[in-house]
Symmetry: C2
Subunit: 215 residues, 2 copies
DNA sequence: ACCTGAACACCGTTCAAGT
DNA sequence: ACCTGAACACCGTTCAAGT
């Protein structure tokens, strides 16, 4: 059932993931699903858990040292592996964002990540702060507010377009022109968020943490 | 109308923000709203824009130097000001997360933030990467995956609870025990995300950027 | 234990009609 | 230009009933 839900979201988007449609996809009447779950939220919780399990499985295959300074590249590899799983389900970040309780598999994932940092010499307190600093990045995605290569100029409000765009937002326009080089329409997760940008932000945080732990 | 929508979400939650309810709140029939907007998404886009304008207004009052190394504290102050606005509307992050096009006011906000970094000596390329690294943090909120002080142990799955919790996730349990000190039930935005944690992550990124720009 | 059909309360949205 | 009423297609969910 959860597998079917994920397949449905993959093929036709999250908004197509409805109890009625999921039921017909399973060759069953809509209300039969309520024998296995109490409410739709349970399905979404389950979907998140399956995805997190997929990540845990992928991450479990990684066998690298974690002690001392090695924690950093180990964490990096783990998070980028998680990201690969998430990239296969571009709708997943939005579902993760709506969950209020953390799924068992997600808890497990973060426990291991904290463990890895402990191996690297982190105090519990620093590991705690590190988790907050990473936020959703620990699972391989970010919530972007800003899409410089994307739809910005095209969809801008008339008010902004009537006044000269370049005068209203000169810095963004300058950046757009300058950034023309590395626009990559592939491999985005949510907004503009290609692999290089993700890794830049991730490394910024990991480097900062390493500096703190080795001081 | 947008003001009414925000008030409604503030008082009764985003899920209560429905076209029909918004209409009755305005003392009008539900379908009258469709003379001002084409679809509900337009309302949400508008709500986001009003919030971003509120942030722009608040930020405009800040008058601090931005040249050279001063960029960092100026950016910090701006982002924490944005956060104060967001904290008044705890449902807002989720709405921001669902928008696919960036509102004019949000564009403006980011343009000024890029401008500030330019004052600080950033290349367009570094400013671009900085925006990605910050992600939604630039507007004062984060997408947290992890709630150590919150509902985690209480809501854990039977499977995890039956096996000894401390054996399943020893690192999180250790962290929870250790972290008992700084649990703050107030001032959370979304998941567990208090002011100190937000500032820690923010400074980690800003410090990393400063190091890059001053190398 | 598992599934169904009919029904309820609620959505967003269309459309033809009113002033 | 602005508002309305009735209606449509679609939700999630309840409930009593079937096997």
């Amino acid at each position: 059932m959860l597998r079917a839900a994920i397949a449905l979201a993959d093929e036709r988007g999250v908004e197509a993931l409805t109890m009625r449609r999921l039921a017909t996809e399973l060759g069953v009447e809509a209300m039969s699903l309520y024998h296995y779950v109490a409410k739709k939220d349970d399905v979404l919780d389950g979907v998140v858990d399956v995805l997190a399990s997929e990540i845990n499985d992928a991450v479990a295959e990684i066998d690298v040292p974690t002690a001392g300074a090695a924690w950093q590249s180990a964490a990096r590899q783990r998070i980028l592996t998680a990201r690969q799983v998430m990239l296969r389900h571009p709708w997943a970040p939005r579902v993760f964002a709506t969950r209020t309780v953390m799924s068992p598999a997600t808890i497990l994932y973060h426990d291991r990540l904290v463990g890895l940092m402990r191996d690297g010499g982190f105090s519990y307190d620093l590991a705690h702060r590190a988790m907050h600093a990473l936020g959703s990045r620990s699972l391989g995605f970010t919530q972007e507010m800003f899409d410089p290569g994307g739809s910005m100029p095209a969809e801008a409000d008339p008010e902004v377009l009537l006044g000269d765009f370049a005068t209203m937002v000169p810095n963004l326009v300058g950046m757009l022109v300058d950034a023309q080089a590395h626009v990559d329409p592939e491999s985005r997760l949510g907004w503009c968020d290609d692999q290089a940008e993700f890794e830049f932000g991730l490394d910024l945080i990991l480097d900062g943490l390493e500096r703190l732990v080795s001081r």
